[in-house]
Amino acid sequence: MKDKSIAYKIFTVCNTIVLTLIALACLYPFFYVVVASISDPNELIKHNGLLFRPLNDITFAGYKMVFNNKLVLSGYKNTMIILVVGLVFNLILTTMGAYVLSLKELMLRKPLTILVIITMYFSGGMVPAYLNIRSLGLMDSLWSLIIPGAISTSNLIIMRSAFMSVPESLSEAAKMDGASHGKILIKVMLPLVKATLAVMVLYYGVSHWNAWFNSSIYLRTSSKYPLQLVLRNILIESQTTDMMSDIGAAESPQVLQLLKYSLIVVSSLPIMAIYPFLQKFFQKGVMMGAVKG
């Protein structure tokens, strides 16, 4: 602050350099991917070291392949369906559960809360969960990605804290006027916890957007795959036969690499464009999640 010693000045300079390097380290890989996605694929495969501008002529061939691919398009569509339908389930069930667990007058509040919280620390694990989904007949259906994840307990606890922080006198006043629980929840409580609801939408939304694992074990039909699973298959397992036949190209490593870079850009661009605006909501969620009570 008012420290004007030489040592502090030296520190300030070093600090600025270190922080700049950290920021660049976080940014550069994305920059590299974007530049690589429009570079000449033959030059790219021969290139050593860092990229600072596209190699040779700019090409959009990778993007053409991405947008011509049926699986990528259907993946986007499926992810959107899961996101929207899933969010509706998430919000309804989470608020219902959180509201009831926030009611101090309920005798069974404690046991029910414990019942819910246990699931945060103990679960049946991967195989019993899988067998459960199978026995419910949800295999190969998008519902297997929506219903089992309808409530995240940690989100429910955050929501409950939000309800509990609303002054009791408000709901009591509504009760005096003869309002039912449903009415109190919708008309009184929800408008007061809008900020937390926004956090819930973001948290649930991001987890739907990023999910790939469950779809990889529950889904069989490739036209039902969500985007992340399509990405996994192409980017990591390099299952591109279908993609290559679309454009009639030989499966050359050059083209494959270009395709991968373009695919990363296409699938991450939406979130990269909006996250600076979302980050304050997420920060709020992190802080709310840190003080559970």
């Binding site: 420290d3 922080l19 309920l106 990405l231």
Partner: protein
Amino acid sequence: MKKSKKAAGCNVSFGIRLKKDLKKNYAAYLIFLPVLIYYIIFAYKPMYGLIIAFKNYTPAKGIMESAWADNYGLGHFIKFFNSYYFLRLLKNTLTISLSTLLVTFPAPIILALLLNEVRAKKFKKTVQTLSYMPHFISTVVICSMIHLFVGGNGFITNALSALGLAEGGISLLSHEKMFVPTYVISELWQTIGWSAIIYISALAGIDQELYEAARIDGANRWKQTLHITIPSIMVTIIMMFILKIGTVMSLGHEKIILLYNPGIYNTADVISSYVYRKGLLESNWSFSTAVGFFNSVINLTLVIVSNKICKKKTDMGLW
């Protein structure tokens, strides 16, 4: 005589009180019903399914009808403990998890402290926003970027081979020894900015008067940091550390599954990825469930113990 009457009275009144409560608040309980059903079907039913760890489960017979495993139902556990994989998996899980903790725990604290010294608001904000970026990208995309960068032609492989630290032209992920460093460094890159949030806000909450007082006493920036800043966020640091300890065994399987390959199972295979392979890919339902069960029990113990320590040290805990 008096005592028993009182006890009986208590019992009756509890039943009556509960009945009254259910009657009076039936609407609230009704609202909770779908939530309860959800938890029973999707959380408690799989817990019940853990029984198959003690049986030789076949889908045709179902959980109840399947025969018990040998050795009083503990056969699968014994088989796992005696197998060659047991020590390897335990070692890998602990190595990856603890080295990740060692690197990714202090780094965000240091980042937060460094950011705290920045006076230029715009610069501070820019650094912060950029450092969050990897956190917002999906695991699949992050892992595919890792594959591309450390692959045979990746720029990280090239840079390392130029320094003589790796062979050129060969993916780092095909070397046994390179998996842990690759994993840990990518974790650091992904989480440093995001994990710093909690420390940054703890730093923002420090009473500025403390600094004023220290300055009057002639403390320079370094001394202020040492004697005010760090002690002030110590509670947060301890709390975060103890909570992290509780998750050592629950190493996420997703990233490992996306990064590893059969060639490096020796160092990269962890308990959860093994459960995935044995159970879901090879359909060894019962054995895999037993392995997963073993892991969950250790996990739960760690969470409970660390929560206890956390409560003792900081008065804060998960419950």
